[in-house]
């Protein structure tokens, strides 16, 4: 994953001198996850900026750079620290096009890792995409693997509007040639006709494994949709799938209430109500604050929970 993101940054910085990288430890150190490794050596310290430790000013100064016409790519070390710049994202980053009635746009990218599995302290493993999905004017992509992460980051950097990119650790072979995936489109990761499983980010693997179990043990051909872009949501792909399958289960790592699952379920109800054979189920983390990584497994959706929800939906 890290290598794929690094490749996307290299590729886009070579393409466009307006692309800058900004964040804590992104320069000499190459980022705490090494996503920006060697960038400063290649492009210099004016383009790959080791900023002081202040999330609000990282996003705030990047907004200023974007207003001037540059394309800053900011790194926030963990999504749990992004609340210290939330006001800059919500108040300004997402609103400048509207506020200036099109005179200014904010072609910037905010990258940050999210989600569990890192065995670290509080604020290092939460899943908080629901806050950003609710902000008009902002786009949010959550790649499920290194290959689409590279292609989505390239698309995000080229996008004229602000894009937030959340990513997690994962491994995958990535081809040499560069790719770009359009923002705003989901992909059918696996075709099927018995039930639609909707997932994104790290939960895609869980959904695919659950689909394997359901095929092997229940003989059910489950369709798996990888959202890739959480906001704006690709409702058409969801509705088309559920019109075919009649059943849907949504999986996400964020807490359930008011999470993306609610919006996805409502969108399916709007577009495919007459095709539905069963209520739409959500398999999510519980509505509790950070639980500590010793209890993480019980909180984050896993294959057995997704399989159980799918079986209930299939049997309804």
């Amino acid at each position: 994953m890290v290598k794929a993101l690094n490749q996307a940054l290299f590729q886009e910085m070579e393409r466009d001198a307006d692309v800058l990288v900004l964040g804590e430890d992104v320069g000499v150190d190459g980022g705490v996850f090494r996503v920006t490794d060697d960038l400063q050596r290649t492009f210099g310290s004016q383009r790959v900026i080791d900023s002081p430790l202040a999330e609000a000013a990282i996003i705030g100064t990047a907004v200023g750079m974007a207003l001037y016409g540059l394309k800053p790519v900011c790194e926030i070390q963990f999504s749990g620290f992004a609340f210290q710049c939330f006001h800059q994202i919500e108040n300004h980053c997402a609103r400048y096009r509207m506020r200036s009635q099109g005179r200014f746009n904010i072609p910037m990218v905010i990258r940050m890792p999210y989600g569990g599995g890192v065995r670290a302290l509080e604020h290092h493993s939460e899943s908080e995409e629901q806050f950003y999905a609710h902000i008009p004017g902002l786009k949010m992509v959550i790649p499920s693997g290194p290959r689409n992460a590279r292609a989505l980051l390239a698309a995000a950097i080229r996008d004229p509007d602000p894009v937030k990119s959340l990513y997690h650790a994962a491994k995958e072979e990535v081809p040499d040639e560069s790719e770009v995936i359009p923002i705003g489109r989901a992909q059918v990761a696996r075709e099927g006709d018995a039930l639609t499983l909707v997932a994104y980010g790290a939960m895609l693997r869980v959904a695919l494994e659950a689909a394997d179990v359901l095929r092997a043990e229940d003989g059910a051909a489950v369709e798996v949709i990888d959202l890739l872009t959480v906001s704006p949501l690709d409702r058409e792909t969801l509705v088309t799938s559920v019109k075919k399958t009649g059943r849907a289960v949504v999986v996400h790592e964020a807490p359930r209430s008011f999470g993306p699952g609610a919006e996805i379920a409502a969108s399916i109800m709007d577009g495919a109500f007459l095709s539905l054979e069963a209520p739409i189920r959500r398999v999510t983390a519980h509505d509790v604050p950070f639980v500590g990584f010793a209890r993480e497994k019980a909180n984050v959706p896993d294959v057995p929970r997704v399989v159980a929800a799918a079986r209930e939906t299939l049997a309804f």
Binding site: P52, A56, A57, G64, M65, A66, L67, R97
Partner: protein, 380 residues
């Protein structure tokens, strides 16, 4: 081991050139052409007269809530006067006089305060940010603009405005810190008007001055008599020249006073005395500048009337503007409208068409401001 003074260089200056009694320090008096002096006075007068007119427009429900500038004309005009059109100006929300100087048409500002976002759209070549309302959050933008200008190698200075209350916000400190570390061409102009709504300066900070806060970030800071247009201009010109020469940012604290309300929704009699206001009225920036110009025989005959006519003409243009088309709320969310947002727009268009087909019913988009409590709504 001994204790040694590591930073004996700290020093904060106070600058005053033309005081409220009319005393002029001729050695420090900036060399301004007669035409410039007249322009400055005219802009300050326009700011004052428009401000008074806008308060009445608000009371009549013809515009919404706004933050008056009365008393701060010298702080705004003395500083903004030192900029070139190619420089950038980053306002807060009380910089009406300075914004007009930078080229915002009066009718556009009125439109903005009447609830139309079109009023906040800078002209295509205008290097001004629109009004920013969350306190101090515009300051990192100014630093980013200055970084970008430096990155591109452009000859550009950025001037950013804020008040005394803003200096308690994290964004103020982060912006000064980043500006210092990056050594970018930005001038921070604090209009210390003594009151952040109801909180006086002594409850805002325990520092003796706001200017000294710059020193902690390795930048020069200066305090000036903010009601003395010469002192403000001299300090601003010096800071702008320093920035232009590549010598980094400056913080200027203009000691001034908000003679009016915080916003038109505020009642200052609850928290400050009339005696205090009367004391500051004696230091009115317009009075002393006018006396100076009179002495030098530079006052223009009939200027008040011409300024009032210009304002009246702008109000006529503002009130002749067409009502807002609600469908345009979808025009500037993204470069391209996502499918779901397009569907929401179509839904609204269908509703508007239905409403238009029934002219006896009140349309959803009548112009005019939302009335404040105790205020009548007058339709434009």
């Amino acid at each position: 081991m001994p204790r040694i003074a590591l930073e004996p260089r700290f020093q904060v200056e106070y600058l005053s050139i033309l005081d409220s009694d009319g005393n002029l320090d001729t050695a420090l008096e900036p060399k301004l052409a007669d035409m410039d002096l007249r322009s400055l006075y005219r802009a300050m007068l326009l700011g004052r007269r428009l401000d008074e007119r806008m308060v009445r427009l608000q009371r009549q429900g013809r515009i919404g809530t706004f933050a008056p500038t009365k008393g701060q004309e010298a702080a705004q005009m003395g500083s903004v006067f030192s900029l070139r059109p190619t420089d950038w100006m980053v306002p807060s929300f009380r910089e009406t006089a300075a914004m007009i100087w930078r080229g915002w048409p009066i009718e556009k500002l009125l439109l903005f305060f009447a609830g139309h976002l079109e009023g906040g759209q800078p002209a295509p070549e205008q290097r001004d940010l629109p009004i920013t309302i969350p306190v101090a959050t515009q300051l990192p933008h100014a630093v980013g603009l200055a970084y970008a200008a430096q990155y591109r190698g452009d000859d550009v200075v950025v001037m950013a405005y804020f008040g005394d209350g803003a200096t308690s916000e994290g964004d103020f400190h982060e912006a000064l810190n980043f500006a210092g570390v990056w050594h970018v061409p930005v001038v921070f102009v604090c209009q210390n008007n003594q009151w952040a709504i109801s909180v006086p300066l002594k409850k805002q900070t325990h520092s003796r001055t706001i200017a000294q806060k710059a020193l902690a970030y390795g930048l020069p800071g200066i305090q000036v008599d903010g009601n003395d247009v010469f002192a403000v201009y001299a300090a601003a010109r010096e800071a702008v020249e320093r920035a232009r020469a590549g010598d980094g940012p400056t913080l200027i604290e203009c000691v001034t006073y908000r003679l009016g309300v915080h916003t038109t929704a505020d009642d200052p009699t609850k928290y400050r005395s009339e005696a205090e206001v009367a004391m500051w009225e004696q230091k009115d920036p317009l009075t002393r500048f006018r006396a100076y110009l009179e002495k030098r025989n530079l006052l223009e005959e009939g200027l008040e009337q011409r300024v009032d006519d210009e304002i009246a003409e702008a109000i006529r243009r503002f009130e002749a503007m067409p009502p807002a088309n609600p469908l345009t709320m979808f025009d500037h969310v993204y470069a391209e409208l996502p499918p779901d947002l397009r569907a929401q727009r179509d839904e609204m268009a269908a509703r508007e068409n239905t409403a238009a087909a029934r002219p006896d019913e009140t349309s959803t988009h009548q112009p005019g401001a939302t009335p404040m409590r105790g205020q009548r709504l007058t339709r434009r």
